[in-house]
Amino acid sequence: MTKVKCAIIGPGNIGTDLLYKLLRSDVLEPVWMVGVDPTSEGLARAKELGLKTTDQGVDGLVPHVLEDGVQIAFDATSAYVHADNSRKLNALGVLMIDLTPAAIGPLCVPPVNLARLAGEKVMNVNMVTCAGQATIPMVNAVSRVQPVDYAEIIATVASLSIGPGTRKNIDEFTRTTSNAVAKVGGAGRGKAIVVVNPAEPPLMMRDTVYCETADEPDREAITDSVHAMIKEVQKYVPGYRLKNGPTFDGRKVAIFLEVEGLGDFLPKYAGNLDIMTAAGARTAEMFAREILDGTITLTPIPAEEAA
């Protein structure tokens, strides 16, 4: 069966974990891995797995996009270079799945708004942050029952699972997540708190979601909605679990989650990385199905019109 051909930019932990997931996909075929360092282990690994590679960054990929039929690219580099990568590839009609916190395109949390985004003509979707992917489905699980004035999330990740890029830009991480908690989750206001825990052995990703409903919370409906949403996320992140709750205290609803990774390339405790790559892959698959059945056609965006 025909598959949609993909490129991954950024052969680090995220890019490599994503590669393993794409290799299992029935609608996506990874064909290019793009890096900037000729000695990168990630590039060597991708080559071994049969991908074409370049150490010349996105410029090394651009001349091959059309001949190799690349239609979807994942950016697992950094917010700073994403805009440039996106512009160059959009110009060739390649859809960008952005795993950096750049957030140029619409924010995507698959069980919440992927179906809607796939129906729109977008050429760049942003996967928010790992904390956003882990918590926004739960904010939405509450806000689809009744209005939420305020949602707050606390994401705790193992020290070993959070790379130098995120550490250097923790402020963008916090702000992008806060914004998405409100905007995509469906809360009046949002706040995100990030904690990095160095315990050995590393702790599994933990996430807590607090929602303050406008009126007295409908306990039964919220509990049912939360359980249903857990099942939705488990479709692509099997280790996504409700540890405790929902508990209710006045208008405050508390939901306690744990995210165990699949362990494709990254250790299982790094559920935060797994949920990012899994959400990115799921998003790409949804678009790929629509490309394959002709529902959508990717249209190049001339570089001068792009952001």
């Binding site: 705790t156 550490r167 706040k191 708190i193 990030v194 904690v195 702790l203 807590t208 405790n244 508390a254």
Partner: protein
Amino acid sequence: MTTLYSQVAGKNVKLHDMSLRDGMHSMRHQIPVDKMVAIAKGLDAAGVPLIQVTHGDGLGGSSLNYGRGLHTDEEYLRAVVPEMKNAVISVLHVPGIGTLDELRMAADCGAGCVHVATHCTEADVSEQHIGLGRELGLDTVGFLMMAHMTPPEALVEQALLMESYGAETIYCVDSAGYMLPDEVTNRITLLRDALKDETGIGFHGHHNLGMGVANSLAAIAAGATRIDGSAAGFGAGAGNTPLEVFAAVLERMDVKTGVDTFALMDVAEDLVLPMMPKPPRADRDSLTLGYAGVYSTFLYNAKQFAEKYGVPARDILVELGRKRMIGGQEDMIEDTALTMARERGLIGHNSTSKVDA
């Protein structure tokens, strides 16, 4: 024999009052603005050179997780800063909780000093925040919390990172009130050896094992020049190093602080003490924090959820320590209490959670 006196006499030490920041924990962040102003004015008049004013968890700490402040950080800062004659107002800022915009706001309100706080092994999340502190012209401090949880040599590595980002002073922070004087001496000595001469060193203690004063003295002997404490010991757990007690001790040991000990005693007795729900004391739960090395502010939520779910606070705190929970993870207190209550059969498996994988 080298006496402690001979190691500290004649030194200059800057005292930094925490009662209006760490003390916010004891008040569940509900200090009224007028009390905040009155206490800060008293401390200023007593010659305390640095006074911290922020939500207990720092800028942006007002939240469901840590408790909402009675007022915003901005309201407190705008009320207090203009009233200061000599004292500099400082703020606490924890990357991951507070954002750069909040730090800009604090500088705009006239705060002159920032403690940029990270867990003792995670200094590299502070680069943006220390950088901005310097850019804004603030007296910028790197504040390494829960310093007992990492070996002294590793703490030094983290301190060097903060120094490289521009921090002018580095703190060894005993957030759990767990350290004993030798552990303080060891850390401060290594920090003093490794950091640049012009980089200052500070110590922030908690009194959970009653060691606040002794540890702070040990820190000065080993080279610290800034010490945090709180009037009347008003702070999380069994409180911070009681500042008026420490000032009296320093006076007897001929350490120069510029603080009027009697005036500071009066602030503690007449202004701070009457506000407290109860004076900080090493009760069994606070003592457990120090004994088990648990973050001092966990005390309040542990007591709250102990009552709600019927698991003793001490058991919850010990379990949080065993799970190596760190500052900021207040959300894990209810989670842990729920899990323990279920294991003990105090709540039904289905009463709060229908699914548990």
